[in-house]
């Protein structure tokens, strides 16, 4: 066999051992070298159908194993996981689709909404924000800690002077994990209260003024495999001609969704979404009821399909709750504790001894 072809087969062998079997990479390289030598000494012609067939089968098995079977091993065994809603209520996640929403998923699939909408939220990077809180007693030490931190990490070398007392204030934004823990250590040693917030940066995510200015508010975190546990199948989509729908149940109400389905241009003038009038039937002009939608001069009522589809869309809240692999940054609670007054400051000395016991 030619040197070149046997090299390729050696490469194949080391790829198989690295990607498929998971050998430590130097071991995989050694395997490849041995395979190279072995094939070079073999006299196998490329022209034999038998060789071709064997090679094809081998590559087929490698590709299935490396991509599909390994992923299946990792992801097929996912189960419920406990997470918290915004109010701190624990619940099992993901919530399976029930009743009409399950039928709505079939409607979504049947009408191919995935041709224009994705259901996967992405993010680009993760950064950490550090905030601190100090009382008067520690103020000088904290300011000094801030300038030390800035020096050590090569940041803008301004001093920490001017740090407010008694208020939570940002020390530094958009740090990586290493710098954030340095900041935390310096500040905690100086006696301040420190809060480190995780923030995902990405165009899909919730908008925060300066910190994620181009955020489109499509979700609070990226989508992960756990979110699609009960989807049959997960209709992830591949093109975004319309917005992402992974979290649409949080963004829109039933009425808005009905209106969008009937005539998207009433919701957004430049919408490229075709009208889905076949999901509605004409209603009498004077018919009343919460389901009636007016579109210009016509009156429409949703069909069962429309109701189910909207139920399904309202159940899509997958980028809303934190998971271990995809945490969410928590907004600051409004009633953050003020720093404890130093005991020595109490004017009445007799009470000072007992305070704080």
């Amino acid at each position: 066999m030619t040197i070149g072809l046997s090299f390729l087969l050696g490469l194949l062998a080391s790829s198989v051992s690295y990607f498929m079997i998971g050998l430590w990479w130097p071991a995989a390289v050694v395997v490849g070298l041995f395979a190279w030598l072995a094939f070079a000494l073999l006299d196998v012609k490329m022209d034999s159908t038998f060789t071709l067939l064997g090679g094809l089968l081998l590559v087929f098995c490698v590709s299935l194993s490396a991509m599909v079977f390994r992923a299946s091993d990792q992801l097929s065994g996912l189960q419920y996981i406990d997470t918290q809603s915004e109010d701190g209520i624990e619940f099992r996640y993901p919530v399976p689709l029930l009743g009409n929403a399950r039928y709505g998923e079939a409607v979504y699939k049947a009408h191919g909404c995935a041709a224009c909408h994705t259901q996967q939220v992405t993010h680009e990077s993760v950064v950490l924000d550090v905030k601190a809180l100090t009382g008067e007693k520690n103020h000088a030490a904290v300011e000094e800690a801030i300038s030390r931190f800035r020096n050590v990490t090569g940041r803008d070398a301004s001093s920490g002077a001017g740090f407010p007392i008694g208020e939570w204030e940002t020390v530094e934004n958009a740090l990586d994990a290493a710098d954030a823990s340095k900041a935390r250590n310096f500040l905690a040693a100086a006696g301040a209260s420190v809060d480190v917030q995780v923030r995902f940066r990405g165009e899909d995510l919730t908008q925060h003024d300066r910190q994620n200015p181009r955020g489109r508010g499509w979700g609070k975190r990226r989508s992960v495999a756990q979110d699609y546990l009960f989807a049959e199948p997960p209709m992830l989509g591949s093109v975004r001609i319309g917005p992402d729908l992974a979290n649409v149940g949080v963004r829109h109400s039933r009425d808005v969704l009905m209106r969008i389905l009937l005539n998207p241009k009433t919701f957004r003038k430049n919408s490229k979404m075709p009208q889905h009038r076949f999901l509605f039937k004409k209603a009498g002009k004077d018919e009343q009821g919460q389901h009636i939608i007016h579109d210009g001069e016509e009156t429409y009522k949703p069909t069962k399909d429309a109701e189910a589809l909207v139920d399904y869309l309202l159940s899509l809240k997958s980028a809303n709750y934190p998971l271990p692999e995809a945490p969410i940054n928590q907004p600051y609670t409004s009633s953050m504790p003020k720093p404890a007054p130093a005991p020595a400051e109490a004017p009445d000395a007799t009470k000072a001894d007992e305070a704080g016991k």
Partner: protein, 208 residues
């Protein structure tokens, strides 16, 4: 009989069979090295829980919102308050004068230097009239909450009601510690009946 080939024919024959020059294979090896490094940097260690752009599982674990212990105590207390206390004392801490629930906002019982009395009230409940912020409340007794709450829970909810800046500037007292709660509960361990205001003042005089 082997036919003699001219140089041209040899060249053509070689060109026909030509394969990549050796330097291509060297380039492939270099690329393979790059690929391994790329996988190390971006592959998340083939871990099922690591999603791009995180580097590995340790980084993901360190991304949990890292709150200080004080803040965690405060938030835990807030959760307990919302779960148990809001029914009577309301989320805004103002209680309901008509129903007979005293407010916690600016209450001298809450904001007393020593948390002992409030701890006792939570543990065993309160009965009889009590004056809070100049008004007397006597309509209902407060049921005991001590059975459901651990020492840590009581410490946390006490910290919350004493440090909740939303309720006013006076609510900025230090954290209530576990030791304080334990000491108080030990002291009143043999009592099971609800307290009255006078008994509380007797049990925990000022400056204790």
């Amino acid at each position: 009989m082997a036919a003699k080939k001219t140089n041209e024919e040899t060249e053509t024959a070689n060109a026909k069979m030509a394969g990549p020059a050796p330097w291509v294979f060297v380039l492939m090896v270099v690329t393979f090295y790059w690929a391994i490094n790329y996988l190390d940097g971006h592959g998340g260690g083939f871990n099922a829980k690591v999603y791009s752009p995180h580097k590995d599982a340790a980084v993901v674990a360190s991304l949990k919102v890292q709150k200080t212990p004080e803040e965690q105590a405060f938030e835990s207390g807030a959760r307990i308050y919302r779960g148990i206390c809001v029914a009577c004392h309301q989320p805004n801490g103002k209680g309901n004068a008509n129903a007979g629930y005293p407010p916690l906002v600016n209450s001298e019982w809450v904001l007393n230097e020593s948390p002992s009395r409030a701890i006792a009230i939570i543990s065993n409940g309160l009965q009889g009239p009590i004056e809070v912020a100049g008004q007397v409340y006597n309509k209902v007794a407060m049921p005991a909450q001590g059975a459901a709450l651990s020492d840590e829970d009581i410490a946390n909810v006490m910290s919350y009601i004493r440090r909740n800046g939303d309720w006013g500037d006076a609510h900025s007292l230090p954290l209530v510690t576990l030791e304080q709660v334990k000491a108080v509960r030990e002291k009143i361990a043999d009592r099971s009946a609800a307290w009255t205001a006078e008994e509380l003042i007797q049990q925990f005089p000022d400056s204790q």
